[in-house]
Every structure is written in structure tokens, then in C-alpha cells.
């Protein structure tokens, strides 16, 4: 009874969010924010992967931009240089990145302890160097331009209005899939690993393999987002995938609430708005602001800003309702 009541309430904010999202790109609503919202959608996809990896499984990746960049460059090269269908290129990129991440995870997780952070840090730096140095493939520091748009039949995603719906369709699908994974046997196994690896192992959870799988899934998300980024801008350059990009992604995950899939929208949103609208004025000092946010959130709200805000909201609603019921 209580569960049914609760589950009905869960759909209300989601429906409101959906309605809001659908209306944004229309002229009479918030059309001026369409481009910003496209980026928020793309970054949300990466952030969801990090939430699963960091928030649920307790594994830190400091090189998620490597997977993000792999998706972007593989898509760009396959569809521009080799003329492959962009959808197919996107698919190939996701499979390649996922397999690559799985192999790395499989090797790292055979060691006990938190080596993933170090390994991904190194991976991020190596990939960034490769994006810049393999200039015959990647165009070097200048990157590539003239990458085709995605299209279905004759319908080309060449306006931001159209791309907005494409990106958010992907984004919501990823969110939904992730929520299903989290609320299932798989999600419990991931949280069990976070809770106690020894206990997780004792009840039959293959800790190493689950970690490798979730790393691979987060890499697939990052790769899809990278492909969408490329097909949205039709250009690609290595700047978007440097170390600071990985740090920003961690900030998004941390703000978004490491214990909630939907918080990823909030995390990606606030961080993008912050970096596009506010932190531009700080120039290169923006790194310090990101560092500060990270430290403050981790100290005062280890479950993430989103979860904290949700708690406050629930407490307010509870108090309001109590007042309403009082005789």
C-alpha cells in the first residue's frame, strides 16, 4: 500500500521534468538555451556513468575524458575520413571503448586496493597526448572539422532544435536504463561492493568482474556522449578531453549526487552553467573553483548536493503536510 503510494509520487517530478524538457527549444519558451541544454544532455550521459561507477560501486575514475574522447574521435574519423554511416560509427566507437575499458578494468581489478584512480589518471593523460600527436588521424591540436550530421533517411539533424530532441532522447534512455540497473540484482551487487568487498565476495559476488563491467558500461556511456558531441558540433578538438575535462566530469558526478541516477542532470546542468556563464571570468583560475567545490561537497555532503537538496525538500514537504493535517 505504502509502496504503491510512494511509486505514484515518484512519477510526478519526472513528468514535470519531461514536460519542461519538451518545451525548452520552442521560440515562445526558452529557445535561447537550446544549445546549452544540448551540452547539458550530453554531459549528463557521461555523468550517469560516473555516478554508477563512483556513487554506487565506490570506484573513482580520474580519466573519464579518455573514454569521452575515444567516442568522439572514433566517430569523427570513421564517419569523416572513412565515410562510414555516422550511426554505425557511433555504434563501433561505443563497442570499441567499452571493450577497451573492460580489458583495462579486468587487469586493474585483479589487484586489491584503489588502483583505478591512478590507472585512469594515467590513461586520461595518455589518450589526450594521443589525440594531439596522432595528427595524421586526429588532425593534431587543431582537431577535425566537416564531420557529417546524423540523419534518419532524409531527415538530417542539422538544426539545434532537432539535435536537442535527439540528445535528450539518448539522455533519457540512458537514465532509464541506469535506473533499472540500479534497482535490480546488479545494482545491489554494485552497492554491496561499495559497502564491503569481503562481504560481497562471501555471498558469491564476483567483485572483480562486476567492477570491470561497470567501468565498461560507464565507458560506453562516455563514448556515446562523445559521439553525440561530435555530431552536434561537426568539429572535434583535443581541448574537450584534457585532464581538466576529467576533473569537471567528477565535479558533475559529485554535485549530482553519487547516490542518485537522476541527480546527474542536476550535476551536469549546474556545472555546465557555472563553467559557461560564471567561471569564464575567472580565466585559468577556474580550476581552483572546481577544486573548492569538490572539497566542500565531499566534506559537507558526501552523498552529493542533489541528495542533500532532496532531503531538505522532503523535510519541508513533511512539515507543510503536518501543518495541513493539524486540527
Amino acid at each position: 500500500m505504502l509502496a504503491r503510494l510512494k511509486s505514484k509520487w515518484i512519477y510526478l517530478p519526472i513528468a514535470a521534468l519531461l514536460a519542461f524538457l519538451i518545451l525548452i527549444p520552442f521560440e515562445w519558451f526558452f529557445a535561447q538555451y537550446t544549445t546549452l541544454m544540448i551540452f547539458i544532455g550530453i554531459y549528463t550521459i557521461v555523468t550517469v556513468g560516473l555516478c554508477l561507477l563512483m556513487g554506487y560501486t565506490g570506484q573513482v575514475s580520474l580519466g573519464q575524458a579518455a573514454f569521452f574522447g575515444m567516442g568522439a574521435y572514433v566517430s569523427a574519423i570513421l564517419s569523416k575520413t572513412y565515410g562510414l554511416n555516422p550511426w554505425l560509427a557511433m555504434f563501433v566507437a561505443a563497442i570499441m571503448t567499452g571493450a577497451f575499458a573492460y580489458i583495462i578494468g579486468y587487469l586493474i581489478f585483479r589487484l586489491k586496493g584503489n588502483y583505478l584512480a591512478m590507472a585512469t589518471l594515467g590513461l586520461g593523460l595518455i589518450m589526450w597526448i594521443l589525440f594531439r600527436q596522432l595528427s595524421q588521424f586526429t588532425g593534431g591540436p587543431d582537431g577535425m572539422s566537416g564531420i557529417p550530421y546524423l540523419s534518419i533517411g532524409g531527415f538530417v539533424f542539422d538544426t539545434s532544435f532537432r539535435r536537442y530532441f535527439l540528445v535528450w532522447a539518448f539522455c533519457l534512455a540512458v537514465l532509464l536504463i541506469s535506473q533499472n540497473i540500479v534497482r535490480a540484482r546488479t545494482g545491489r551487487a554494485l552497492r554491496a561492493i561499495h559497502g564491503s568487498e569481503a562481504a560481497a565476495e562471501s555471498i558469491g559476488i564476483n567483485v572483480g568482474r562486476f567492477k570491470a563491467k561497470i567501468l565498461a558500461l560507464s565507458a560506453v556511456y562516455a563514448s556515446l556522449a562523445g559521439s553525440l558531441l561530435v555530431y552536434n558540433m561537426t568539429i572535434v578538438n583535443p581541448q574537450a578531453f584534457d585532464f581538466l575535462a576529467s576533473v569537471k566530469l567528477v565535479v558533475m558526478a559529485v554535485i549530482g549526487g553519487l547516490a542518485s541516477v537522476w541527480g546527474a542532470i542536476f550535476g551536469a546542468g549546474t556545472t555546465r552553467i557555472l563553467s559557461d556563464e560564471v567561471l569564464l571570468r575567472f580565466g585559468e583560475w577556474d580550476v581552483i573553483v572546481y577544486g573548492l567545490i569538490l572539497v566542500l561537497v565531499m566534506i559537507f555532503m558526501p552523498e552529493g548536493l542533489f541528495v542533500k537538496l532532496k532531503e531538505v525538500f522532503q523535510r519541508l514537504r513533511f512539515r507543510y503536510r503536518q501543518r495541513g493535517v493539524a486540527p
Binding site: 536504463i177 541506469s178 533499472n180 540497473i181 535490480a184 540484482r185 546488479t186 545494482g187 545491489r188 551487487a189 552497492r191 554491496a192 561499495h194 559497502g195 564491503s196 569481503a198 562481504a199 560481497a200 565476495e201 562471501s202 555471498i203 558469491g204 559476488i205 564476483n206 567483485v207 563491467k213 558500461l217 547516490a259
Partner: protein, 257 residues
């Protein structure tokens, strides 16, 4: 073979560098019985447990479970074979509710993975329903049914230990290893625990416990194995062991130190 043996070790040895924590131990654990492993501090009891559970590799000797050699079987596979353990420090999943902790214990008895979960395929829904029904069953077994929705770590220690047993039982073991289940419990909690352990034995499941609390051990165990300095020095019924000169010496030796 007198009665059937569920777990057997032959010359089981574990050395950490120069320190031999478990030294050529031969064990033969009878099926369907409550067996206690006792011994003074540092006798190697917990190391022995970890070897049986597969936490680290053996330095020498063999472990057999229902006649099958376990040496090369990784820890996480032993649960589906039917061996499960609890921990001295409980190790509940603090990021879950009481019920979810027990549901986790159904992991080796269910099989759907990321793909089925992501798309909520019929297999996932069907198994998920069975998982929660079974979890409630095991939660009721330890008497925590009314606490299902609480955070696991909000329970007092006594109930946390019961919850850990429920989580372990949810894997449907043939053999359950309890590492100091009585530590930190008060008298009434200990009585509850003893009843639960007897209950588990009645279900046909073999129980092995490592325990410091002598009254608890003597009241429960049908067979007692005594370790000292990594070696088995005696075994028998509780009454026999209590009269054994070597056992008395081992415990007195400890007290003098």
C-alpha cells in the same frame, strides 16, 4: 567414514612470511552438526576460517568440501557451492536497508545480469520477485521481519549480527561458518543467537563457529576442536575437551602471560 563428512582439510598450512599461522591442520567436519573451533588468542582460528572461505591461498595442504578439492576455487564461487561465512566485524552493507542486505544474499541463487536488468525483461522481473519473497523468508527466520525497511546500520549490534546471519542464510548454504558470532552481545542476545544456530542445524545445515565465549560454545557445540599456535591440540565433545590436559595448559599459559 563415520557419519558423512562435509568439510575436510589435510595438512592445511598457512604461513605469513616466517610466521606459520596454521600448521598442518587436519580437520573433519561432520555434516549436520554444530562444531566449534576454540583456542587462545593468536591460535590461528580466524586464519583457518579464511582459508576455508578462500580469502587467501593456502601455503600447503588441501581443503575438500563434499569431497571436492577447493584449493583453486575462488572465494566468490564457494558461495554457490554451499559454503558461506559471517565476519567478526559483521560487515553489513551500510548503504542498504535491512531487506536489501538479505536480498543481496540471494545473488548466487539468481542469475539475471545487466542486460535483463536494463530492459526489465520478464526474467528479471520474475527473479526479482523470487528474490524479495525469499529474502523476507530469511529475515523472518532471524526475527527481523518488522525491520525490513530500516537502514541496516540503524540496528543495535545484536540485531546486526542476526542480519548478517540472515544474509548468509539467504545464499542457501550447506555449511555456514560463523566468526565470533557472540562477541559484543548481551546475555539475552546470546540466548537468541543460540536458538537461531540450533534452528539452522535443525534445517540440516552444518555449522562451524569460532568463538571465545566458553559458556556459549559448551552449550551449543556437539564437537569441539582446539587450536593452539596454529596446531590442532585436541578435539572431542565439550566435556572431553574441558578435561584435556593440553587444553588446560594452553589456556592457563595464556592467562599467565
Amino acid at each position: 567414514m563415520s557419519g558423512s563428512v562435509i568439510l575436510e582439510t589435510k595438512g592445511l598450512t598457512k604461513a605469513f612470511g616466517g610466521l606459520v599461522a596454521v600448521d598442518k591442520v587436519d580437520l573433519s567436519i561432520k555434516a549436520g552438526k554444530i562444531t566449534a573451533i576454540i583456542g587462545p588468542n593468536g591460535a590461528g582460528k580466524t586464519t583457518l576460517f579464511n582459508l576455508i572461505a578462500g580469502v587467501f591461498p593456502v601455503s600447503g595442504g588441501e581443503v575438500y568440501f563434499q569431497g571436492k578439492l577447493l584449493n583453486k576455487v575462488p572465494a566468490h564461487k564457494r558461495a554457490s557451492l554451499g559454503i558461506v561465512r559471517t565476519f567478526q566485524h559483521v560487515y553489513l552493507f551500510g548503504n542498504m536497508t535491512v531487506l536489501e542486505n538479505v536480498m543481496s544474499g540471494r545473488h548466487p541463487r539468481s542469475s539475471y545480469g545487466f542486460f535483463e536488468a536494463a530492459l526489465r525483461l520478464p526474467k528479471a522481473r520474475r527473479e526479482e520477485e523470487a528474490i524479495s519473497l525469499n529474502a523476507i523468508k530469511y529475515l523472518n527466520l532471524v526475527g527481523l521481519g518488522t525491520h525490513a525497511e530500516h537502514d541496516a546500520l540503524s540496528l543495535p549490534l545484536g540485531q546486526q549480527k542476526l542480519l548478517a546471519v540472515a544474509r548468509a542464510m539467504a545464499t542457501e548454504p550447506r555449511l555456514i561458518l560463523l566468526d565470533e558470532p557472540g562477541a559484543g552481545l548481551n546475555t539475552s542476545e546470546k540466548r537468541q543467537l543460540s536458538d537461531l544456530i540450533r534452528n539452522i542445524r535443525e534445517m540440516g545445515i552444518s555449522v562451524v563457529l569460532v568463538e571465545h565465549d566458553m559458556p556459549l560454545v559448551m552449550g551449543l557445540a556437539e564437537w569441539v576442536i582446539v587450536l593452539d599456535s596454529g596446531q590442532k591440540i585436541a578435539e572431542g565433545t565439550a566435556a572431553q575437551v574441558q578435561k584435556d590436559q593440553k587444553v588446560i595448559a594452553a589456556y592457563l599459559g595464556e592467562e599467565v602471560e
